[in-house]
């Protein structure tokens, strides 16, 4: 019998309860960040990257159009508040549902293609969504963006919370992120989660095993869009505006960068990627206008020397060390 090492058993416990571990971390997160707005951005973009990772890391489909889902979630949340006066929580539901519908439509068209063609089709469809929202100035504000998504206080179970207070805002939005992370973890742990991973590993073999690959792809595409849409919806409430950049393809590219930086195909990796990317950008911006050079170099270093990303490398090291110590004992 091997004596359980306290560190390794602690890590095993974290691995077993990954959602709880992430949530405890995020609960304390605003305390270690320089300011709450940055912590909120990381929370939101972390969720966006997690949603994207469902498709990219776990299913092996590289989409370049995910800004469309993020943006649609943002805009529909904003529009339903500004033009229809919906309560904030219903607006979040509306935004998330709308991006699910757009995800279903785009997914339906895109999953017929593979590889680079899949990326190109998602990029093109994403640009169509961008243009449609850009032109619908009456509803979206066009170039100027949508303003007036202002929620000053919210009522939860009879409690009135000051939504302008940054910490209150963080913890309210945190609840939504927590639910989404639990859902993602649940999906990944389910038999369906195993199916999408097997699609990534060998699509033909998955089909040969009797799984409907096209339907599984469409389902995970839509789920990924829903998660990204929720992230967008939360951003509309956070910033109280919806900029047209929310639909821009640069934001689609950012999801890819965050996933690669943190570690694609890991549960927590995209969050780490988003945190490092945004924190680095924030710090670099405050002392040089050439912040892009710094972020770019860091990104290249990771792609070259840590192809599994920051979190992915840590997980790998831990597994190796664990196996090694088990063998020697």
């Amino acid at each position: 019998m091997t004596q359980a090492n306290p560190i390794s058993s602690a890590i095993a416990l974290i691995a077993q309860h990954r959602v709880a571990a992430v949530l405890i971390f995020l609960l304390l997160f605003p305390l270690i960040m320089p300011y709450e707005a940055l912590a909120l951005n990381i929370l939101i973009f972390g969720l966006y990257a997690v949603g994207f990772n469902l498709l990219f890391g776990y299913t092996g489909l590289l989409s370049f159009g995910h800004a469309a889902f993020f943006g649609v979630g943002s805009y529909l949340t904003g529009i339903t508040i500004v033009h229809f006066g919906l309560p904030w929580w219903l607006a979040i539901v509306a935004g998330t549902a709308a991006s699910g519908v757009v995800g279903l439509l785009i997914g339906f068209l895109a999953i017929r293609t593979r590889g680079i063609y899949f990326s190109m089709v998602t990029l093109a469809l994403g640009q169509i969504v961008y243009y449609a929202f850009y032109k619908a100035e009456r509803w979206t504000g066009g170039e100027n963006g949508l303003r007036g998504v202002t929620v000053e206080e919210i009522n939860v179970f009879g409690l009135t919370l000051d939504f302008v207070n940054p910490l209150t805002k963080y913890y309210v939005l945190y609840v939504f992120v927590a639910l989404a992370l639990w859902l993602v973890s649940r999906i990944l742990a389910s038999p369906f989660g195993a199916v999408i991973e097997s699609i990534r590993e060998n699509e033909n073999r998955t089909a040969a095993c009797g799984y409907d690959v096209a339907r599984a792809k469409l389902l995970i595409f839509t789920l990924s869009a829903v998660i990204c849409g929720l992230a967008g919806a939360l951003r509309a409430l956070h910033l109280s505006i919806v900029p047209i950049d929310s639909l821009h393809y640069l934001l689609s590219g950012q999801a890819v960068m965050m996933c690669l930086l943190g570690g694609m195909g890991t549960f927590f990796g995209p969050f780490v990627g988003a945190a490092v990317f945004l924190y680095l950008e924030d710090v670099a911006t405050s002392f040089t206008t050439h912040w892009m050079a710094i972020v770019g170099v860091v990104f290249m270093v990771f792609v070259l020397f840590f192809p599994k990303g920051i979190w992915g490398t840590l997980v790998q090291r831990w597994q190796r060390w664990n196996n090694h110590s088990v063998v020697t004992k």
Binding site: A37, E143, V149, P243, T289
Partner: protein
């Protein structure tokens, strides 16, 4: 027996109470920095947040804004500040991205606890900064052009607009140019809010002169090749061609219009002729092009405050002349500092109330804020680009005319949706 059981029950209750007490103490300690920071804010420096796009397409203009704003701050501090409180300028890069602008404004308000915000350099970023400030009742003085910011649905009591609006600038250029150069007009317009607002301003002002729009040709933002539009403009034979685009688009359009020889048959005008664009584009491309601007250093021979401002700027920055957007940075900071001194307070409401009544002349003649929308009513300078007899590299425009400040040139309060007049 009962004693011991009571004792046992009491223990966890005690523990709970201890945790509660500890928690309360913890919260007090955690809250302490906020309390001390708030107390500090009454006596520490006056903090002004200054979000502006130091990176991105307008970085040259933004850096000039910062230089001029720092000049205003230095001047204020050299004069002893307010009640011994010095001013501190917190410059943040908004990357010309409205989402980043909102985040940076949140940082300035929530972390740095600034007293007010001045800055921005695009319609979209100023609207997002304004949205954040409005919800938190923080005073914001915008120094970039936009029509939307004055409209009732975006505006708040704490919103001030130091810059001109596209409506006023385009109107002034139209009032000067249309009677002189003929009635048939073609617009070459960048297809976004700024371009549309400019065309609207021209057309409104043009009605009085019976102007006739032959075509409003839209091009996508960021067009580098205009050759497909130019033959069509040639064929329409207009008297006036109006370039309703900005920055790099304007430079490219001006160059290609010149190369194509369109200037021989028609007068080319631009609503906003930027000093920095003219410097980037060169004398030949802009030769003879006429346009409006909020400020040109050459005003100094007729406006004494312009001379004072230019001299200070030259002295501080190795002889360089201030640009139009730079000058706005200076005026934006000076007006809020002046208001703080007069109000003897830094609270947003007190400062806003003083600004509403202020008449000031910091660099371009008399100005004041219109009561219904806090738009700075100011002169518009009509300039023409020079290509000959230039004294130095800063000497790029001839000042043709100055349209005096007049509230009647603005869109009416009613049109903007402001119910309560004055």
């Amino acid at each position: 027996m009962t004693d011991s059981s009571n004792h046992k029950v009491a223990k966890p209750a005690n523990l709970r109470r201890r945790i509660l007490a500890g928690g309360a103490a913890g919260l007090t300690i955690a809250g302490a920095p906020f309390v001390s920071r708030m107390a500090f804010a009454q006596t520490g420096p006056i903090k002004i947040g200054f979000p502006t796009p130091l990176t991105g397409a307008f970085s040259a203009e933004a850096q000039d804004q910062v230089r001029a704003a720092e000049l205003a701050v230095k001047e204020f501090n050299a004069g002893g500040g307010f009640n011994g409180r010095k001013c501190e300028l917190l410059v943040r890069d908004d990357k010309l991205n409205p989402g980043e602008a909102a985040t940076r404004t949140l940082e300035l308000i929530e972390k740095d606890k600034v007293d007010l915000i001045v800055g921005s350099l695009s319609a979209a970023t100023q609207l997002s900064i304004n949205a954040v400030c409005k919800a938190r009742k923080v005073l914001f003085n915008s120094i970039s052009q936009s029509d939307a910011i004055n409209e009732a649905k975006d505006w708040s009591f704490y919103t001030f607009h130091e810059a001109l609006t596209p409506h006023v600038t385009a109107g002034a250029v139209a009032r000067y140019a249309f009677p002189k150069f003929g009635k048939k007009v073609v617009y070459l317009t960048a297809d976004y809010a700024y371009g549309h607002e400019m065309v609207r301003g021209f057309q409104r002002a043009g009605q009085a002169f019976g102007m006739q729009t032959l075509a409003d040709i839209r091009h996508p933002l960021g067009t580098s090749d205009f050759s497909s539009f130019l033959p069509r403009i040639q064929a329409l034979k207009p008297d006036v061609l109006v370039l309703c685009n900005f920055g790099r688009d304007l430079v490219n359009a001006a160059k290609q219009v010149t190369d194509f020889g369109l200037k021989q048959n028609m007068k080319v005008i631009a609503p906003v002729l930027l000093y920095t664009s003219r410097q980037a584009g060169g004398a030949d491309a802009f030769e003879g092009i006429l346009g409006g601007t909020s400020y040109y250093w050459g005003l100094e021979d007729r406006i004494p405050t312009a001379k004072i401002f230019n001299d200070k700027f030259r002295k501080a920055y190795a002889g360089a002349a201030p640009s139009d957007y730079g000058a706005l940075g200076y005026a934006g900071i000076r007006s809020v500092l002046q208001a703080i001194t007069e109000a003897r307070s830094t609270t947003a409401t007190a400062v806003a109330n003083v600004m509403r009544k202020m008449r000031y002349d910091f660099y371009k003649g008399s100005q004041s804020y219109r009561l219904c929308d806090h738009q700075s009513v100011q002169s518009v300078i009509i300039v023409e680009s020079k290509s000959k007899a230039m004294k130095d590299k800063y000497d790029v425009f001839n000042v043709l005319s100055i349209e005096a400040p007049d509230e009647n040139n603005l869109r009416t309060c009613d049109e903007l949706g402001h119910k309560v007049l004055s």
